[in-house]
Symmetry: C2
Subunit: 362 residues, 2 copies
């Protein structure tokens, strides 16, 4: 068991933004709420999957909706209390721990506050080792764990309990409820046993995100190369495949639109060697290519960092003229099976390309 | 207690189409399923509100969605079993009877099959005495009965339990789930006590719909005027205000579109005296006027009948050249309070006109 500190929260916010691969919403709101909780004398406990009893009830909590609306809505952290009580009644036993659904983006920090206020530990694991946009895009979902029962609540206490054996239909219902309730809802789903978490969640992702932030912080303090530090922390984490700098350059073209809560578009990055890399995104960065050569493609992670500061840049904050470094991070092996690629690979995002390994610009 | 016969079902289908005021979906599918149930030896029992114990649990069942999609989907009649079981658990007592939410359109006959197969009686009452498009547009909702908990199910057994203190938000969630689940869902809602039904439902509406069908059937058999018979049955029913023929003529102009599951538009009816009556509809007929003179406006009922046969014509089946008779039927007095008019009056449909009494063309 580890007690998270304010420094951990700041480090986590950095790592979560990087693993957000351009999307997933800002970890900022959750971080602020978590800091306020610590300031009140609250605790946030993190445990490893091994610390769970095999029959312990573990559920995921997350916010669903358009990140841009999120920042305008108040987040208290106790919105999930009633939703979790409902899942406890349905499962016939108390919730023992909270599992983050995704360590990338806002849903890395949101569960900390809910867990802290409920006196529950957070599990050092998640279902994505990054951010993905849909409910079914998690390792445990791909392994056959049903997302339902899912409980959605909004700030008025309105709630919906969704039941379906089909995770994509749960996703469709959740998205619809989210829009009907004003754009953002809190969701609790994926009731699992401790044994399920041990078998199907991706372990160590929360501590990896914290380690990424720490690596960048220490590089800053010592004046060393933050990219080298971050790459070393990724390698040490052992969660992902190989990580590499894919390309470096300046944003010379940007075509982006906001539609149905999605940030869609493409950016062209021109390198010092006059090579043009095209980055395609739909909330998250999905594809980087030069000509017909694919440098990286989902489910591998593509993170755009400020070349100066190594700050992650979300897709909605890409700007013409920015100097950026594209980091490619290999997906965890659990996402490279044919079954997984059908859900979180190119086909899951409507891309008519096969998955291919990271191939940095040479 | 009354056992419904095949003749009652045919008569009900006619009355329900007339009280559908152009919308509400066709009573046909529910009628077929109810007839099949009787053919198998099943019973359909109808009781008056007075026959309910004051503490009996009564719930409404209905189909929600686009009527055009409905006809393409199979309807079995037992879709509600699990949904009702869930409402029973939430209410802590068994359902004693099923209340139709609306006697106009498809939801007049749908509950008969569900009730029959569950061995429950149907109450001779509803919340609209016609068809209205939204969850909150019922007498008991206006009186303060919450629509939630509402359970929605589809043909795959997917379901959603909705909770909100605000009936329009329940409507918004239900509509969203309906679209996410393929366009049509079965809904159970408005958990009431027998005393609630006696105080806030509109009694006698199912038997009135049956009486309307019987009146037309008998007029046909005897060669007498079906319009006179129907008007007499409406008067005898005592459910509505005064009923009159508003206008007679031929459809000389028709402007109609299908959007988001709504049939929207207007028809012009030119009378023998060259007077033009404009009928505006959004699924249901909402307004009939000539120049600036309002002949009828919601919540009063406007039914378009074939002048030859007295068959009700739904808005999606209006045709250029049809000879039609516009019937105006006064709304039940419960819908004429300021509070009710805010929900089911012109304002509830975005019409910037006050409610005014029926005013037939002279």
């Amino acid at each position: 068991m580890r007690l998270l500190t304010r420094t951990d929260l700041a480090d986590l916010a950095y790592g979560a933004a990087l693993l957000g691969t351009g999307g997933g919403g800002s970890p900022w709101i959750g971080r602020l709420a978590a800091e306020a909780w610590l300031d009140q004398g609250g605790e946030i406990r993190m445990i490893t999957p091994d610390e769970l009893a095999p029959d312990a009830l573990v559920v995921t909590v997350a916010m669903v909706g358009a990140p841009t609306i999120m920042t305008e809505k108040l987040f208290r952290g106790d919105e999930m209390t009633e939703a979790l009580a409902l899942l406890e009644r349905l499962n016939g036993r108390p919730v023992a721990a909270i599992l983050p659904v995704e360590v990338g983006g806002m849903n890395s920090t949101i569960p900390l506050v809910a867990a802290g206020k409920l006196g529950l530990p957070v599990v050092d694991a998640d279902g994505m080792a990054r951010a993905f946009p849909e409910v079914q895009m998690v390792s445990f979902g791909i392994a056959g764990v049903p997302a339902a029962p899912m409980v959605l609540v909004n700030e008025h206490g309105d709630h919906a309990l969704l039941q379906s054996e089909d995770n994509p239909r749960v996703e469709a219902m959740a998205r619809a409820i989210c829009v009907a309730l004003g754009g953002v809802v809190h969701a609790a789903s994926y009731s699992m046993s401790g044994a399920d978490v041990q078998a199907h969640a991706i372990p160590g992702t929360m501590s990896l995100a914290i380690a990424l932030g720490a690596a960048r912080r220490q590089a800053r303090a010592t004046g060393s190369d933050p990219f080298a530090s971050v790459l070393a922390a990724l390698a040490a984490g052992g969660v992902h495949g190989t990580s590499v700098v894919l390309a470096r350059g300046r944003i010379t073209d940007l075509d982006r639109s906001e539609r149905d809560g999605f940030t869609l578009g493409r950016a062209t990055i021109t390198t010092a060697g006059h090579c043009e890399v095209v980055l395609e995104f739909r909330n998250e960065n999905l594809l980087a290519k030069t000509g017909e050569q694919v440098l990286a493609i989902v489910p591998d992670l593509i993170s755009v960092l400020d070349t100066e500061t190594a700050d992650p840049i979300p897709t909605e904050e890409l700007r013409y003229g920015q100097r950026v470094t594209l980091l490619g991070i290999g997906a965890p092996s659990v996402f490279l099976t044919p079954r997984a690629l059908g859900v979180v690979g190119p086909a899951g995002f409507g891309l008519e390309l096969p998955h291919s390994p990271l191939s940095p610009l040479t």
